[in-house]
Symmetry: D2
Subunit: 268 residues, 4 copies
């Protein structure tokens, strides 16, 4: 196939990609020679950032990226992990299907909120950024943004967690790491003020959640909000591969489905 000449298209300049291409003796990815300049030098996390932002992260940025990724990779038998395991039960020969099933639950309710928070913060900063990013200005931006959500009866992205009701333990760690690495930027700062303003306005304590803080931390190192959910998917794929390795050794899917079916039958 490789030697067949494809048709000539003088005007097809719309069909292009920066990501990569192959020739018989070389593979180019992100404008770099894959074997010589990427393999052995960049981690997967660094390549992901490079592919999305078209620059390599600094060491500090890389540490934040990985901290966010590992914080969202997995935490046990979530709906996403269960969907992957139950899919594996029916099709163990096609692990890509089980991973895909697990990823498909990363929507508006679970995992999606990381990107929603990044977008919410980025929009607020862009709309009202003329106010500056000193603390007083950010506080004013937080007030406007929280008020706007409350007026339409919408939840404020990045706040609240069904399990971690006082504090999500990932959040202070992420804030400390960002400070340590010098990537503590306007998104994380605004999110903290959003939480404070929200509590003052409502009298209700909704802690920053790990997804929200992760989204803000990614935005602060330069991940576009539209790609934050993508980064969460990379993290989650790693978690799902772990789940499925365990399911292969120590299956729970079949018995789980059987028990659920039996219980539901008794209630029929």
């Amino acid at each position: 196939m490789a030697d067949a000449d494809p048709p000539d298209h003088d005007q097809t300049d719309w069909l292009r990609t920066w990501i990569g291409w192959s020739a018989p003796d070389r593979i180019t990815v992100a404008g770099r020679d894959l074997p010589g300049d990427i393999m052995g030098r960049l981690s997967l996390t660094e390549l992901a950032f490079l592919l999305v932002t078209r620059r390599e992260p600094s060491a500090g940025e890389r540490r934040i990226l990985d901290a966010v990724l590992v914080s969202l990779a997995d935490h046990g038998l979530t709906p996403s992990a269960l969907a992957a395991r139950l899919t594996y039960t029916g099709a163990p020969e096609a692990i890509q299907g089980a991973v895909a099933a697990g990823l498909l639950g990363a929507g508006s309710v679970f995992l999606g909120p990381a990107g929603d928070t990044a977008q919410f913060l980025a929009d607020a900063l862009e709309e009202h950024g003329e106010q500056g990013t000193d603390d007083a200005s950010l506080r004013r931006i937080a007030e406007i943004a929280v008020e706007a959500r409350r007026q339409v009866g919408a939840l404020v992205p990045g706040l609240g967690h069904p399990v971690h009701r006082a504090e999500d333990p990932r959040v202070p760690r992420l804030y400390a790491l960002a400070a340590e690495e010098g990537t503590f930027g306007p998104h994380l700062r605004l999110l903290a003020l959003v939480a404070a303003v929200h509590e003052e306005a409502t009298g209700k304590h909704l802690p920053i959640n790990g997804a929200g803080a992760g989204g803000a931390a990614l935005a602060d190192v330069g991940v576009p909000p539209g790609s934050v959910r993508g980064f969460v998917l990379i993290a989650r794929t790693a978690g799902l591969v772990g789940q499925l390795a365990e399911e292969a050794q120590q299956p729970i899917g079949r018995q789980l489905a059987h028990e659920i079916e039996q219980r539901a039958s008794r209630n029929a």
Copy 2:
């Protein structure tokens, strides 16, 4: 299954996981405190390895893991990348669906061969490992394994590539890295001998491909063959997130589908 009563809660020791769980004030992943012991310390690659093998990789192992992952993440407008982009065209609001679509093509033809090669090599080593792993013994194992595949008319996993017909440029780089990091083990060694034996037996040069070498390298650092395809999926998710970030900025999916539809209509 149907007539067995579902187990009583007290005895449900089958429903357990080592991967992780949450409590109001802490999150445990892989037996470690997620914020205190994983975030800021482990990369996503290291966490993936830990989740699958239940131990942390050494620095050398981590470098090999990342080298394999970046080598398989992406190389342009492959069927997998195109499927993701075309899915994004229809449902840009659900990026998890586009990533899932891209992953679903990681089967027996593309990407799957990394795991198939790891399994093929591991099986050969296990079946004939009593022969030792010195060069002469490995060569004998390679001869038996190649001959067995040829007798049933099956392809030898890990050999041949439609574009890289003389040499896949990722392969020598991966072998050099494994040597450098001291992880050059029986799987990579056996694969090299398999390629040599195959060429001698058939008179046909089929170079080791990048997927095959990647699978062997992962097996040499301790990834179970059954999880190799999973590692490829992690890598590919990173590539797909890059593809979709580009598709959002510089879309090709819609025009591509339109052009294809028009060409096919004229041939109808």
Copy 3:
């Protein structure tokens, strides 16, 4: 959620389903004996309607359901069909993955509009239904609904098609069938008025599209708007199975991807 004790088995009345269950000697679906009362009597279309609405369709309703389903099943090498075929190229052994990939593009841009139109019409009827459903009242509802969309700069669901710019040939047929079967109800009627009002207000002819008319026709026979996208998915699955049967016999995926990759490489 985390601190709430999981309910005791005796009280788990939340875990129930009307859809179906199995016992050693019988299978119950939709409250009916599957072998005796469904097999040989109901078509798949009728069962789908029954599962969603909990009643069997009349003969006329069934004809409308099928007319909508066949109208949305397939029309050639769309992005959805191409995603399925390209996925099959990589994983022909897992056809469920190729079908899933094809379905995942049924989002806000393609196919999703059927459900969006049904929801838009149902919302307009519910909000302003006190006005009655005589022609004059429906026209007033159409004016309000179109005006509301235009004020926020949103497109009006169900109007316009990139190929069928004067008229979508499925639409008059669907309207005629609904009239013939006595299912020509407020959703189809309102949609026609929405198109007329939109053209008067903008001076621009945007014909009713097949997805929009299909969504309205389904709503008129009683499919809840939230399940309209689901019905489209059933239809599309049938189309994708046809596409994949052809791809298996007469493959285009591999050569297509190769050609695209080559063209993009030359533009790099």
Copy 4:
């Protein structure tokens, strides 16, 4: 987009499809005018058969097709239904993802066996068909096929069910319908003999299962074995749409995941 001329390709006759195409004023599907010749005349089941086999089914064939489809659409809280519901829990706005997740479990263990049985029977008939299809010849073919599977330690496709241990109630119904409609052909007949021969050879009663009988019945009306899994996916999509309509009204996914996570945590 529609009016831009795509590039001319004199030699691209490989890029063609029989399935369908669109022009501004007409849509062609399966060589027929979609609005005039398919809508209002063919059911979705008939169109699916037409797309795969390129001919329309007779009335009797259509009844068998529907009987098989409804028999496999759903039977309650199976792993596939649970995966779909749990995915919906995380991403209710993208129902196509939840349906895809449910389909992805249609593999070698669940639902896939329908196609595996059809293939097994078709292969046996093709390899040994010179023996004729009278009862004695079919019995001989059954003996050879069962023996071949037993020699390699493989299960015989189409036999055995974890719940229906004496008899799967769908099976006698399907056999009766096939007799009634005159589609009782060599696949169903061979399957019955395979079950009998297997019981004689092993002394163990493994009844024909519904998936196996469904696969054989589809093969007898002309569905190619390679498309049987596809037909099952159409049926299953209908079932999943029913499951998700119920999940939207009466959700169980979130509480189920919560309960499972809590139980697993206590066992940690």
